[in-house]
């Protein structure tokens, strides 16, 4: 589904992403782990089109998408959630998700239509909200939600754009253990419908969910394999697991 060829991002002398080749196969949940500053989020920025690479290419569903901007990437089927909650704070939860669903329609330049009257949009919105257990909060302003619910809303927005590939950037960031558990359940359910690339620090979560793991350090891929293989890998132990216990 997604393949990069020596994807590179330099910031001056610093190489944040260094000749990365990864392949994400259809239907897998592919985790990317590594210490802070390993270049994981920068890699996501390149994949989602938020930043342009300094070198290398990105192939998505057989097409070279390297030069597409973030909006075009979204329409090509790459959906992304963010490490720092990135929602529309003063709009209602419902409106947050409806906007995402609306972005897939041709209705957005309809000036004389009523957004709230569109049955099709409302149904898609309700389905996404229901999936993340947010229906009860639909009419509240997004910024009034508790942190855990905001993280779920973040995911609901991304899912409502109907992507083929989900890039999830530390979805459990800042969550209580209970909320993290709720989230793991959600991601497990999503994995049956979407191909997912997941950046995560929560090791039990990663080891439990991922089919494949890529380990990064200093911008490079230092290991790749199944959870068992990664657990046994000496490089990884030294670079990552060893330092974190």
């Amino acid at each position: 589904m997604l393949r990069t060829h020596s994807l590179t991002k330099r910031f001056g002398a610093h190489v944040a992403v260094d000749a990365v080749d990864i392949e994400v196969r259809d239907g897998t949940l592919h985790a990317i782990i590594g210490p802070n500053g390993a270049g994981k989020t920068t890699l996501f920025n390149l994949l989602s089109g938020e930043q342009q690479p300094s070198g290398g290419t990105i192939e998505f569903r057989g097409h070279d998408v390297t030069r597409l901007d973030v909006t075009a990437r979204s329409h090509s089927g790459i959906g992304r959630s963010y490490q720092r909650t990135n929602i529309f704070p003063k709009l209602t939860v419902f409106e947050n998700v409806r906007l995402a669903a609306q972005s897939r329609t041709r209705e957005s330049f309809a000036l004389w239509a009523s957004a709230s009257a569109s049955r099709a949009l409302a149904e898609r919105t309700e389905r996404a909200l229901g999936e993340f257990g947010l229906l009860a909060h639909a009419q509240r302003a997004a910024h009034e939600l508790a942190g855990g619910d905001q993280r779920l809303l973040e995911l609901a927005i991304t899912v409502a754009t109907d992507p083929a590939l989900l890039l999830l950037d530390e979805p459990s960031q800042g969550l209580s253990p209970e909320d993290a558990h709720r989230l793991i359940d959600r991601i497990g359910a999503l994995a049956s419908r979407f191909t997912i690339v997941l950046i995560e620090h929560n090791m039990p979560l990663v080891m439990g969910l991922a089919g494949e793991i890529t380990v990064m350090n200093f911008g490079r891929v230092i290991a790749h394999g199944t959870p068992e293989e990664i657990r046994a890998d000496a490089n990884v132990r030294a670079a990552y697991l060893g330092t974190r216990g």
């Binding site: 989602s48 909006t71 979204s74 709009l91 906007l99 995402a100 000036l111 004389w112 009523s114 927005i157």
Partner: protein, 305 residues
Amino acid sequence: MRRFAVLVVVVALAPFVVRYPTLETQILTFGLLAVAFNVLLGEMGFLSFGQATFNGVGAYAAARVLIDLHAPLLLALGAGIAAGALVAAAIGALAITGRGVYGVMLTFAFNEMAYYLAFQWRDVTGGDNGLRGIPRPDVFGISLDDATRYYLFTATVVLVAFAFVLRLIDSPFGAVLRAIRENEDRARAIGFRVRRFKIVAFAISGGLSGLAGALYAGLFRFVPLQSIDLDTSTNIVVATLLGGTGSPYGPLLGAAVFTILSNSLSHVWSHWPLLFGVVFCIVVLFFRGGLWSISGLWNRRATHA
């Protein structure tokens, strides 16, 4: 819907209750300017400090069409809308490339340029003497040669424009504008061509401002150079903030209060802006939602009682 019905009744009865149709027409045209401005500020979150540009361009365009072509009045209004929309789309396309305060300064700078252009181009605009001798033709055989009749004509047009803005805000397009206001980067990331939406919003705001200018030109049969100056742009910002940006009713209310105060106080005391400044500061500091939010609080209390 009920609020709009109340507005229609108030606007329809106003000149028969308080017999100042000319002042009341001015309230409506200035109100439309504030409502148009607030499409950008309140909905999209862009502070356009050069709204008088679109007002002036619309007024001159309508006036030229009336003088040179003896065109029907509705066609002249159309010319005002088209001119305002085109100029706003062009200025908007350039202004939105500047982020934050730089975009604001660009609208300001273009307003200044438009003003000097109007000042210099005497053949078209009359320069600082203003553009005189604008005819006010009949509409559908009905003479508008009477202040109250012209008020009713203006009221009809402004209410239609206001209804359009209400629909716009409720539309999918309006939702995208709010998404841009709240989080432009995420709007882009979920697949909206933000730049396109902004330019269309500018065109709409400019078109409505041009319409207001055209109605004003018809009111006084005269376009003063002030219709395109920075003072007018400032007044639009002030009236809108006074009324509140959270709903199109806010700018309308703000424009009414502003116009009434400036007309009544300026006769009593030439330094009236000083007093107005105090009122403005109080509203902006203590009632962030403007006068309309105060009326909202009162409404809520009234319904709870």
